[in-house]
């Protein structure tokens, strides 16, 4: 991907050992499948929780979101989703952004965004659960 292989002296095996342009081989491909499988039941549960919370008072929402089972499902949903969307957006960036500096900045922004969304959501759920 980056740089020209004009003096390519490495054998194909040596290159494969380097696990390709991303240096992680098929790791992300596989993780995207794992998180998509996990995402099926978690998304169904997430939608059910949202529907159940519609129109309820703040006190009721706090109580339901803070109850252990709901909080655990929400934590699983958030963590799974954030990792899934981090890989997905990285894939989109690698497909369309070819300029090196812009690519670097965009990939970094993707990581910051996903960490921020994930951490903020997890913190909120934990605070609702522990009620500090």
């Amino acid at each position: 991907m980056s740089g020209k292989h004009t003096n390519e002296m490495r054998t194909p095996m040596r290159r494969v050992r380097g696990l390709g342009a991303a240096h992680t081989g098929t790791g992300h491909f596989w993780h995207q499948r794992v998180t998509s499988v996990a995402g099926i039941p978690l998304t169904i549960a997430f939608v059910a929780i949202i529907v159940a919370l519609l129109g309820r008072s703040h006190a009721a929402v706090v109580q339901i979101l803070g109850s252990p089972i709901v909080a655990i499902i929400m934590l699983l949903f958030i963590i799974n989703t954030v990792y899934h969307m981090w890989i997905g957006m990285q894939e989109i960036v690698l497909d369309y952004v070819h300029e090196d500096k812009l690519k670097l900045v965009t990939l970094m922004a993707n990581t910051f965004f996903c960490f921020a969304i994930g951490l903020a959501s997890v913190f909120a759920i934990l605070k609702l659960s522990f009620g500090v």
Partner: protein
Amino acid sequence: MADIDAGAAKGPQRPRPISPHLQIYKPMLTMVMSILHRVTGAALYFGMLVIAWWLIAAASGPNAYANVEWFIGSLIGRVVLFGFTWALIHHALGGVRHLIWDTLRGFEPADREFLTLASLIGSIALTFIIWAVGYLAMGGPR
């Protein structure tokens, strides 16, 4: 890359053969849905901002939560939420379709058309069902 450089050094310059890109094809359902899978994924990516906002507001207190409720109750909020619902369901069903394809099943023309159409119709139907249940749970549209 090595091939291109070697070619340029050897022969006279001539345009490299390029493979046809998207605009040369008539839009097919499977192709449009493939694009839509990525588009809905990207939309959900930013839609997660609303989910995070909602959770933080719930954790912050009644006043912050009232702001979220006001937004979700507004016309724009409902359009965003409806779009988010459809994108989520569509991306989920599209994901199931891709998982089926990952097992090397469903690649025959009739099968892939069926899977693609089923996920589109299914996502629209499920979105309306979820909203109907949501409104029923709230005691009717407000």
